[in-house]
Amino acid sequence: MAKGGKEIRNRIKSVKSTQQITKAMKMVAAARLRKSEGRTQASRPYTDTLAGVMRNLASVATEVDHPFLSHVNAEAPKVMLLLFTGDKGLCGSFNANLVKKAEQFIREQRSQGRETEIVFVGKKGWQALGKGGSWFPGFNENTSYADLKPVNAVLTNAYLEGEVAEVHMIYARFINVMKSDPTAVRLLPIQSLEPAGEDEAEGFADNYDLEPSPEELLTALLPRYFQTIMFQAAMENFTSENGARMVAMENATKAAGDMIDALTLEYNKARQAGITLELLDIVGGAEALKG
């Protein structure tokens, strides 16, 4: 007998309890995923309409000279990176991929002669790249739009005071439950605000009265738009994290199942061998008595 039956039985027990934990974690991740998908959906009317209005405003109000639209201090030797990760592990390569993307970003900036200052949202990124310093807790299904304000303040202050040339962000773009994509976006100056097509913009100006002027409206809405972009990224990042955790835990549960099957087989073999041995003993003893 290679291994005692008792040892194998204990091993099966421990794998089973691990499997119960991974199964529970998978279900928790699934529930949080559903919730955060709901949140993303709930914020969509706001963010979509805002984005549409911003695009139209940008093409109507072309004379606006807002610091969010053009560099404050393009010569600054530093850039700021907002790095979204999760607070917890056990989600496959989710956090590692984001950290890898950030390292790549830092290398690229360094080759252009710029150092990177990282603002961490999520503990895992800070653990990997933070040299002391502080971090913001990661976002989850219960955090609200207003919770982004402190992060927003750190970024905008550094940018408006010219300490950093640009502000970038890295987050996991949600594709589907199985897949997310670590994405780098320039936040400031705002990159995604491409003016709408001429026809669309003309229709917009004809159809709507604007109050106050397009310029003032754009100036009032730009900081909000900026925070909305971050908010969406934070929500998507959290959705991606839970997708990754769900898949990782599903795989772990399956692996534990395979392990239990293999161990059960081994246990049965060991038990069989034991019985055979005992039988041989009895038969051998009986033969000896007969002799």
Binding site: R39, A42, P45, T49, Y208, E211, A220, R224
Partner: protein, 149 residues
């Protein structure tokens, strides 16, 4: 007074706060409060910290919502208020709003009379405005008003 109804929605980044039909509402725009009846010209306006007042056609009373930041879109199909924050006045804790107002006033006092330069003046003014709006909205809601003014 017109009794024609139109659809009104109040949404924030955290979700929808109010949705329904109304005959008229008053909106705190960046250039001041303005009223909207059915058939209003299409308009996009910025929002100020203020109280959104909605005529509730079935209950025959006014609903108050404290809103702040964002904008309002008046289209052909109705009115959409896209606010950064929006709170139904019935959900506002009056006591907490009063406390916040007191704190903001103290901060302003410290800045102006004791020259305390640690006070973030813009934030203090913003906080005071917000607290006052919330207190007002809660008070008006509590009175179960049937008229806006």
């Amino acid at each position: 007074m017109s009794t024609a109804k139109y659809a009104l929605k109040v949404v924030t980044p955290d979700g929808e706060v109010w949705s329904g039909e109304t005959t008229s509402c008053v909106i705190p725009g960046l250039d001041g409060y303005f009223g909207v009846w059915k058939g209003h010209a299409p308009l996009i306006s910025g929002l100020e910290q203020g109280t959104l007042m909605i005529e509730h056609p079935e209950e025959h009373r006014i609903r108050f919502i404290a809103v702040g930041g964002g904008f309002v879109e008046i289209g052909k199909d109705g009115v959409t208020v896209l606010a950064e924050t929006a709170e139904q006045a019935g959900d506002i804790d009056v006591h907490r709003a009063e406390e916040a107002e007191k704190r903001a006033r103290e901060r302003l006092q410290a800045y102006y009379s004791q020259n305390d330069l640690n006070v973030d003046i813009e934030r203090a003014i913003f906080a005071l405005k917000k607290a006052m709006v919330r207190r007002e909205a809660a008070k008006k809601e509590g009175e179960k008003r049937t008229h806006m003014f």
